[in-house]
Amino acid sequence: MSGSVQDLVLDGNAAAGLLQEIFVPEITNAEIECEVCGSTARVGALHLYAAEMGVVLRCTCCDGILMRAVHTVHGRWLEMKGTRCLRF
């Protein structure tokens, strides 16, 4: 069992299964721009938190939340207010 949250951090690769239900073009290679700090990265390179509950993808520069997503039996939720732009 890990004692540190940092050890539990995954990356956008592990979010791909859930996100691919929503996005048709491949998402992990898409370029994403952070609304808070303006940096860009590939979705696959972002830090992924709370994978057991959903997807919380954070900017590797400023830790701002770029994207949140949840898939439940009642449907899928996606919030991207931290994303300035997503380019496929």
């Binding site: 990356d11 690769n13 073009p25 491949e26 992990t28």
Partner: protein
Amino acid sequence: MTAIETLARPAQRIAWQLAQVRGIAAETYRVKSLMLRVANWRGHLPGQHVDIRLTAADGYQAQRSYSIASPPEDEPLALTVERVDGGEVSPYLVDDLRAGDHFELRGPIGGYFVWTVATRGPLWVIAGGSGITPLMAMLRHRARRKLRAPALLLYSSRSLDDVIYREELGAMVRADPDLRVVHTLTREQPEGWVGHRGRIDKALLAEAGFPPGQNPCIYVCGATPFVEDVSRFLVELGHDPLTVKTERFGPSGG
């Protein structure tokens, strides 16, 4: 379409489908490879993974991701699974699963942590423990395509008994003068071991690896702490962060 163009087809919507176990092979005392038949499999790229889902008789479900270990040139599809003590899914896959069993699978997933022979430049893959799996798909693909460009695997394992694909890697090296494999053993070394000891550090990366000037494509895979340390060292050594791709497997097994 040539085979490479086939590989580069854009992703299609993935859906759960049935995977049947055709065979199981022991890789180490705690690692097994599962050979799977997936009816509607449309091929994959080296580095991609699948999600699998197990359902118990009472409807309880568990879902996990596993990297595809086989290259796109090979059939059947192979996953390599390490038994994590106290885990919910891996002990079942490693200890209980039998040929003929089935589970649900969806994929292939991922386009970021992917390498094919169409990518230019030296290939440098860095594995921590079971992080070797997607990197092995890349190396196997490279071997099937007989690519003549330099490649290096830097592979950290607890002990020699923990090295997955050990014989196969040895055979690959003997058959291919452009491939180097450098092992480091972190906890236990056999008598007479002249290879590296201890974790991958900046010195080992500098000594064994491609220098930044050669612009290698670098892939790092393993437990999160391993991946974060190695990527940080690589950047400190002067490698462009955009050339370093990472896949974190979560906390170390311990």
